[in-house]
Amino acid sequence: MQMPALDDTIIAVSTGWRAAPLGIVRLSGTAAFDLLEHIGISLPLSDTLTNAGWCEAFLTLPDELKLPATVFWFNAPRSYTGQNVAEIHTVGSLPALRALSAHLIDSGARRALPGEFTARAYLNGRLDADQVEGVLALINAQDENAARQAVRLGRESYRPRVEKLAERLTELIALVEAGIDFVEEEDVRFITPAELTHAIDELVDEINAIGCPGRGLERAAQPHIALAGLSNAGKSTLFNALLGYERAIVTPVLGTTRDVLSAEIVLGGVAAVLQDCAGLGPSADELESAAHLAAEQAADQAELVLWLHDCTVDWDARETEVCRRIPEDRRLLVFSKCDRQNNHVKSPSPIAFPARVEISAISGAGLPHLRRLLAECLDALDEPSGGGLTAEHLGPTLAALRRARESASTGGTLVMPELVALDLRHAWESLELLGHGPLMEDVLEKILSRFCIGK
């Protein structure tokens, strides 16, 4: 597990949930100002003696990439976190921000964990006791956001490839460690430097092949809004109405939407992903139950769930059951088909929703109100500062593998596998596999299943 330290330099990027012209990268820690030098900004010594300041400059990144930026800096202890803090305001382009953060991480910064900036602020006495409740709640919420984002990323092709990479790395570590801890065993043969460098080269190729994140990954990083409800509640009609074009096939047949449809939507300047889920209800055939599963997953992993209820029918006990599973602050109740019912909703829902809206997708009534409400909800969401993985996070992994290769190829008679092992371990740790057990348990398992150990 990646351990939060208290004074190393952490970095967080406001990646483009918002279609904003400005992107902000924040650094906090002892080396925050030194790291600026890696992007071609040196603060004049006289400036760093004062409390805070700003300058305009061009950031220099690898591959001769140059970005205009305004850099604000705040000296410890008079900053948000109580440590040296630098804020880089630059163009809001996602690839540019990614290149910038990747380069700073390569230069020694560590990606901040959810809530870590705020935690440091509290630990350094920059927030008072009254604010601590809020701090803890925020950390928790960011962790949840990050976890949801991570799960969504998992469905993209990227994450399985990282898992595979981790698996191969673990196998290689097992081969190296076996040669250290079990030399006396009959069939343990220390991996040769040639085999070792070859295996490392393969891993490097694999990382390079993972390459740039596609559109799908960017989407996974955006907040998700799921439309859920019983079959035929009008989810697809609302989906189309919100998007303004016929994306989903709308028919009055129960259970028409069998898969999760998603599309990008911009609400109040925030880009989000709208998902139309299959109707939840008793599943008849296999295909339908698979669709239900996908819908449940989508609802579980969305920042916001719009629960649609056909106002012409009674509230169903199954709806109560499903809605209870969605945390209260993430669910909104929408009564649909209000054009068909002059009076009001037939029966109120037995569970609480923070907000409810009545709409008619056909007449358009209630839709502007719903849009405004959604925009407000999105605006209130905290962006996760840690969590999800993207390709540029593999920079430190590559660097560690390069060091391992160097140790492995310095031949001679006195081979030092322990040095190779150290760098391979760093490579594994840099993959930041959330929810993974300790590496050595896996390594031992692999050694013992591969070699007959035991005198």
């Binding site: 006791a129 006396e184 092992a421």
Partner: protein
């Protein structure tokens, strides 16, 4: 009198009172009793049989990779194992010598009887230590009222033991080092014999007593091979394995090994042997369901090897003499619980052993242990104050692992008596620290053995610098005597001299330090060229330490940073009575896990399984808040 508790006991009961009472005389018990007595506590060791103290139940060897480093650490702290192993060793080898010095590890074959006798003599000659031959019937405690507890887990405090004959011994601290004796049950074929070791009784009452104290017990399994008569082996058919030409001792107190060395031998099993085993699996307790508990995966029986690695057509069998003149040869590699007739047939098909006369049959043993989440990092149980557990009772395997825990338990038992701050060894400080942290933080599923790969700071936890890591601590505690302290200081001086020479001597235009940076260079040739180096080269510890510093220079610097980060988190202490369930916004799972394990530092909390990085952030904030709300008095 130093020990407050002695006064108290004298007034309250008539029974003989000890500061520390150690149950068991194995490798853990010996170190625990030695440490407690040497630190000035009146100590008693209660064991079934005086003549079985320090007996090696399994292979006649000390050390090995990971384990050898532990022996050096025990020695650096002032324990017994390294000294006794040196005095009674009959073959010494430095393993991994062709790799970097961080993973060098000493190992020695021991004269088994000599080892036990020598260890016993040290204990018998030790003042403050009484050896009592008896069986412990029960551990006595005093229940604490809710009011007098200082932590939610503590239920009672230890007051002594009652022996089988009814005698009551009062004690401030009790250390249980019962090894495989707790409810031990031995298996050879369908023959089942209660006992802790071949020919010795099991401790059944003690096991029940631990359970009555509220401790949860579980079972593990281990095994041992047959021993054959030396005269019945055809040595012309096996290959000889000599020791190192320049044997290196375990103890920092010894300059070298003076005794002559004896060889071991190696032979192999073959397809005929494997076929025989396969056709008799219906009689193997490990496969019939007769043995239910889990054994170590890294130390499988021959029947398990044959089944799991069916494609292999041979397995090694090391022939290890149990002593310089012993007639008993330990058949290392074919541990088994198959019936005797099958064992005889198997062994008879191995080259060199065709006519082997078996002096002792192989057997498997199942025994009770106390899943170690129930103790804290000082080895004291969380439920019963003053009750310490060390060795196999904590789910470990191996003499060295047991001895390391025994030494620490002995020291902490004394600190408990005197009210001094308990000693916790860190993962950055010693393999013993890595082991104990693993045990108490993660528990065990199979008998725990040390591997160097378990240590994240392996570059720093080396065999050569165990003294630099631990001797100052041993001195502070009081276990390191003047002679050892002087030697340690002398070594530090010599190391400085060598460092100066490596920079000072120029060879072909480059300093020796620069030469030694080359991977293939171990410096031996320079020791012959420059006379001022020749003595230093012979001081193995000094030479190795300097070599390591040169070779690992860049890496040690890099590790230093992660070491500092690690220490920062270890130093963030969590108060004993801290209530994890009261931390708002902490994930339910994290609160549950931490309440069960009761980590003593933020670092340990992070190592508990199933913890997210954000849980740690939440914990740090909650701890800071707790500190701000209630400033230290």
């Amino acid at each position: 009198m130093r020990f407050e508790t002695c006064r108290m006991a004298a007034g309250t009961m008539r029974a003989k009172h000890y500061d520390v009472l150690v149950i068991g005389g194995g490798h853990a018990g010996a170190e625990a009793a030695w440490a407690a007595a040497r630190l000035g506590g009146s100590t008693a060791m209660v064991t079934f049989r005086r003549d079985a103290i320090g007996r090696m139940s399994c292979n006649p060897a000390i050390g090995g990779i990971g384990k050898g480093q532990i022996v050096r650490e025990i020695d650096a702290l002032g324990g017994l194992m390294g000294i006794v192993a040196d005095e009674t060793g009959i073959q010494f080898r430095m393993l991994n010598r062709r790799k970097g010095p961080a993973v060098w590890a000493p190992r020695a074959q021991s004269d088994l009887e000599d080892y036990a006798a020598t260890l016993r003599r040290y204990l018998e000659d030790c003042s403050n230590l009484t050896i009592i031959e008896a069986e412990v019937e029960s551990i006595e405690v005093e229940k604490l009222t809710k009011h007098s507890r200082n932590s939610a887990d503590v239920e009672s405090v230890v007051t002594g033991v009652i022996l089988h004959d009814g005698t009551r011994l009062s004690a401030t601290a009790v250390v249980v080092t019962a090894g495989t004796f707790l409810n031990g049950l031995m298996h050879t074929g369908d023959e089942r014999t209660p006992g802790g070791r071949i020919g010795e009784a099991a401790a059944i009452a003690l096991s029940n007593s631990l359970r009555r104290l509220g401790l949860e017990l579980a079972r593990l399994k281990t095994g041992t091979p047959a021993r054959a008569h030396r005269d019945s082996i055809d040595f012309s058919r096996v290959a000889e394995q000599p020791g190192d030409p320049d044997p290196v001792p375990f103890s920092f107190m010894h300059d070298g090994v003076t005794q002559s060395q004896v060889p071991c031998w190696i032979t192999y099993t073959n397809p005929a042997v494997h076929e025989l085993i396969r056709s008799n699996l219906h009689r193997a307790p490990l496969f019939t369901g007769q043995i239910e508990s889990l054994g170590p995966r890294y130390c499988p029986s021959i029947e398990t090897k044959v089944v799991r690695f069916a494609d292999k057509d041979k397995h090694q069998v090391f022939l290890e003499p149990e002593g310089r003149a012993s007639e008993r040869i330990y058949l290392n590699g074919i541990s088994t619980s198959l019936p005797r007739d099958v064992q005889q047939a198997i062994i008879g098909r191995i080259p060199g052993l065709e006519n082997a006369r078996i002096l002792q049959w192989g057997y498997a043993i199942e025994y009770d242990f106390v899943p170690p989440e129930q103790i804290d990092a000082t080895l004291m149980t969380k439920r019963v104050r003053g009750l310490f557990l060390a060795g196999q009772v904590n789910g470990t395997s191996g003499y060295e692992e047991a001895a390391g825990q025994g030494l620490l338990a002995g020291m902490n038992a004394i600190h408990y008596c005197t009210g001094k701050r308990p000693i916790i060894l860190g993962r950055d400080q010693a393999y013993v620290g890595v082991m104990i942290d693993d045990l108490v933080t993660r528990g065990v599923v199979e008998p725990y053995r040390m591997f160097t790969s378990r240590a994240e700071h392996r570059m720093y936890l080396r065999y050569d610098n165990a003294d630099a890591r631990l001797t100052p601590l041993g001195r502070e505690v009081g276990l390191v005597d003047d002679a050892r302290w002087e030697r340690f200081q002398r070594k530090s001086r010599r190391l400085n001299e060598l460092r100066a020479l490596l920079d000072g001597i120029q060879h072909e235009g480059k300093s020796l330090r620069q030469w030694l940076k080359r991977p293939e260079e171990d410096g031996q040739r320079f020791s012959k060229m420059y006379s001022e180096l020749s003595d230093l080269y012979r001081e193995t510890d000094v030479w190795a330490s300097a070599l390591v510093e040169v070779k690992y220079a860049g890496y040690i610097e890099r590790q230093q940073r992660s070491l500092e980060q690690f220490r920062q988190m270890e130093q963030e202490r969590i108060p004993d009575a801290f209530n994890f369930k009261e931390i708002k916004h902490l994930r339910f799972e994290a609160a549950e896990r931490w309440t069960a394990i009761r980590p003593h530092s933020v670092g340990q909390a992070a190592r508990v399984s199933g913890i997210h990085p954000t849980d740690i952030t939440v914990l740090l904030v909650a701890l800071a808040r707790c500190e701000r709300d209630s400033p230290p008095v």
